[in-house]
């Protein structure tokens, strides 16, 4: 047993991480982040005087409904894990752990235990945060003590984590024995049969909710149907593990905690015993994790072996365009068909549920119109969230800063090329979605549709360029806020990071509003002076774009200087 050494590793790593976070607070920008983060939390949890908390029983039907829904979701997830494979994250170790711990005289179960212990901090923090949020929403009338809710949520997270670990170990063992499907057959048969029986038992209730017209009624109908023997038996383990997290009183929690703990212990024993192929599964999972993190540093998508080329790089042309080509090619190669299918699937399910539960606008519209509306919603969503998630720019390339710095290019040229890369990617996605909306929203007069499409095509690139310039400026100004090169470990928690996202998002929005203001004011003023006419609007638009262009030129000059002064060593600290 070398558990003392592993405990030492965990303890010292946590302590040193905390110290590093403290050290970062000496820099004003990180101290400001912590303050804003704390203010952000205070705003979430602050309840002004006179704000009366809802009655403890007010949410009970909805809570029961969501409890049931969660059990369903967990059952569907478990089925997915067994049939298609679970997340490999629970078995993923860092490269240092693979290199130093795997050859060490440690038992497999010691390493599994170590992996379980390492994830506990983030699990406990998540459980505490969600408990606090629930408590905030229910105020003084909260019917369950905070620690009890937290324990319930922790059991749910820990059991789910170990289940995925166990599934991965079982599936890896099956694959290693060279007869994966046959080895997995019993599990697949059990899971498929359970899904079939569940669907068959609940089908009448699911088909009838269309006529109900409200969410709580629909949940109640499904809840009643799920109390029948077959669905009740199938959903029982999932209900047990969820029950303490959704308990409505201390008594209900005490009743629920026994089965949940039993399931937790069962999973613990199962995982420790299912360790025959641990090393292979863990090494594979770690390699996937490393590839995923590398890819996430560049985009939000997993790594790929795809080498499709959208455009071949011409040997002639300005050097900066090669950087744009490289980044756009990376985005295209990172794009996975499965991600698109998943996105479409979520949209279809969302609108189906809207129609089923009687959302009026959804019921009255044809599916084609719904697709058009969804496309417009997606354009707006991308305008806000796209600059945070589409990252084929400096946020990815700062990992290669030493190499970029050897190129015979000015800093401002590199920054411009980098920002342009993600702008092109984001705008192309939005234009594709606008084209879908244009083609499907046929009830809208074509002249108006065309006008909106044209205005969007002119305005969106400028807004995107500004927004992404701000994101890249954040990467250069405060690189520790941004995932660059070495992404954060999943179990790593920097406490000053509390405010990072909040501050980053708020600062980016304020900066965007400030940046757009001069162009907007100039454009509107010109339009107003010339008089409201198509010509005046066009002129106003042109003036607004010119002002925005001048602002961007100044910003690129400033950021270029910043890029030239950025020390690669500082990025790794």
């Amino acid at each position: 047993m070398r558990l003392d050494a592993l405990a030492y590793l965990l303890g010292r790593s946590a302590r040193n991480r905390f110290r590093a976070s403290l050290a970062r607070l000496r820099k004003p920008v990180y101290a400001a982040a912590l303050v804003v983060g704390l203010l952000y939390l205070a705003l979430i949890f602050y309840r002004p005087e006179g704000d009366v908390a809802p009655s403890p029983t007010a949410y009970l039907p909805i809570q029961r409904g969501f409890g049931l829904l969660s059990a369903f979701l967990l059952a569907v997830l478990a089925a997915k894990w067994w049939i298609f494979g679970a997340s490999t994250i629970p078995l993923a170790f860092t490269p240092a752990e693979i290199q130093l711990l795997f050859p060490a005289p440690l038992r497999r179960r010691d390493l599994i235990l170590y992996r379980l212990l390492r994830v506990q901090i983030s699990m406990l923090v998540s459980a505490a945060f969600i408990s606090l949020l629930l408590w905030r929403s229910r105020g003084a009338g909260y019917p369950l003590a905070l620690p009890l809710r937290m324990i319930g949520l922790w059991i749910l997270f820990a059991t789910s984590f170990m289940h995925q670990m166990g599934v991965t170990l079982v599936r890896t063992a099956a694959a290693q024995r060279g007869r994966g499907l046959a080895r997995n057959l019993p599990a697949l048969v059990v899971v498929s049969t359970a899904i079939g029986l569940l669907a068959y038992s609940l089908a009448p209730a699911l088909l009838s909710i269309h006529s109900l017209g409200d969410v709580s009624g629909a949940l109640e109908r499904i809840g009643d149907a799920s109390t029948k023997p077959i669905p009740s038996a199938i959903l029982a383990p999932f209900r047990w593990v969820i029950a303490p997290a959704y308990a409505e009183s201390t008594h209900a929690w005490l009743v629920a905690i026994g089965p949940a703990v039993l399931l937790l212990v069962f999973h613990y024993v199962w995982v420790l015993r299912a360790d025959a192929v641990f090393e292979d599964a863990a090494v594979d999972a770690s390699a996937r994790r490393a590839a995923r993190l590398r890819a996430r540093a560049a985009t939000t998508r997993p790594a790929t072996t795809n080498t499709r080329t959208l455009v071949r790089l011409s040997p002639y042309g300005p050097a900066w365009s090669a950087i744009v080509w490289k980044n756009v090619t990376a985005a295209a190669r990172g794009l996975k068909l499965t991600a698109t299918i998943r996105f479409t699937f979520v949209l279809v399910i969302t609108f189906s549920v809207w129609r089923a539960v009687g959302f009026q606008a959804a019921k009255e519209s044809s599916p084609v119109v719904l697709v058009g509306l969804a496309a417009l919603v997606a354009v707006a969503y991308l305008a806000l969230a796209g600059p945070l998630t589409i990252r084929n720019d400096l946020r990815a390339d700062l990992a290669h800063l030493p190499m970029l710095r050897t190129y015979p290019l000015h800093g401002r040229t590199v920054v411009f090329a980098e920002v342009l890369s993600s702008t092109l990617t984001l705008t192309a996605m939005q234009v594709a979605l606008l084209a879908i909306a244009f083609g499907t929203l046929t009830e809208w007069p074509i002249a108006e549709r065309f006008g909106v499409l044209l205005a969007a095509i002119v305005i969106l690139p400028v807004v995107n360029l500004m927004s992404l310039t701000i994101q890249n400026a954040i990467a250069l100004l405060v690189p520790a806020w941004v995932r660059i090169g070495g992404p954060l470990d999943s179990g790593q928690i920097a406490f000053e990071a509390l405010g990072q996202r909040a501050l980053g998002a708020i600062a980016a929005l304020i900066a965007l509003a400030i940046a757009l203001a001069p162009a907007t004011v100039a454009g509107v003023a010109v339009t107003a002076v010339v008089g409201m006419s198509p010509l005046a609007v066009t002129l106003g638009l042109a003036v607004g774009l010119a002002v925005a262009g001048a602002e961007l030129a100044l910003a690129m000059r400033w950021l270029g200087g910043l890029f030239d002064r950025t020390d690669p060593v500082a990025l790794t600290r």
Binding site: T305, P315, K326, T329, P402, Y407, P408, H410, R565
Partner: protein
């Protein structure tokens, strides 16, 4: 070709490189040696334009790196010990990309022989993730050589290469120098330095402790006469 004068680099209060001056002319190969933490990588990174010196001037092919960085950088190639590659570009695309960055003419004629020279032809369509460590190192070398640099800066260039790759790499360095390139080579492999370099610069705690040919160094320190390079190195850096 490379003219460094009074190079100083601080990291906070730590003096990584202190008042370093040296010159590497066309056809010369300078070996930069020193124990871990001596300031070799900081020196190389400063000369390559990756980090800014705190003080001092660096001139590459007649261009001041601080005042005219683009001209200076067009003339140099930096090949790091750990290959830095773009994970979504294939081997051939890396070379085409770098060619555009350095405005290399006749790319279609230059790429195939370079791939052949570094035994990468079969891997021209592969992504870096599909390459072995040695192949990745070869690709980084190819990226450094595609624009025919007048100044070559190599940080542990043989790391990860197989014996055939090592032999080929040594030949390449000698050939480039013979063609007029100025080469700076950092390595812990003293036999490599002895075999290839026309002069040696020994660093210790950021300061130069010896500079010149082995004969020059021994002439300056007669007490070291008769020692092999390894013992000479240990005596100078002790």
């Amino acid at each position: 070709m490379i003219d460094v004068s009074g190079l100083t680099r601080l990291y906070g209060e730590l003096v990584a490189v202190d008042q370093l001056s040296f010159r590497v002319g066309p056809g010369e190969i300078m070996g930069l040696v020193g124990p871990n933490g001596a300031g070799k990588t900081t020196t190389l990174r400063s000369v390559a334009g990756i980090i800014r010196p705190t003080a001092g001037t660096i001139t590459i092919a007649g261009a001041d790196l601080a005042k005219d960085p683009l001209t200076a950088k067009r003339a140099l190639a930096f090949i790091p010990d750990e290959p830095e590659l773009f994970e979504y570009l294939t081997v051939e695309e890396h070379l085409r990309f770098i060619s555009r960055i350095y405005s290399v003419a006749h790319v279609d004629e230059r790429v195939p022989p370079l791939l052949e020279e570094l035994e990468l032809t079969d891997k021209r369509g592969s992504l870096p993730a599909e390459l072995s460590r040695g192949m990745r190192q070869k690709l980084a070398i190819a990226c450094g050589l595609i624009h025919d640099p007048a100044v070559l800066i190599l940080d542990e260039p043989l790391t990860g290469l197989d014996p055939a790759g090592i032999k080929r790499m040594k030949e390449t360095i000698v050939e480039r120098a013979a063609a007029g390139a100025a080469v700076v080579l950092s390595s812990h492999l003293l036999h490599l330095v002895e075999e290839l370099c026309t002069q040696i610069l020994v660093l210790r705690r950021g300061r130069m402790v010896a500079y010149g040919t082995v004969t020059d160094i021994v002439a300056a320190r007669p007490d070291l006469a008769g020692l092999g390079l390894e013992d000479l190195f240990l005596a100078l850096t002790a």
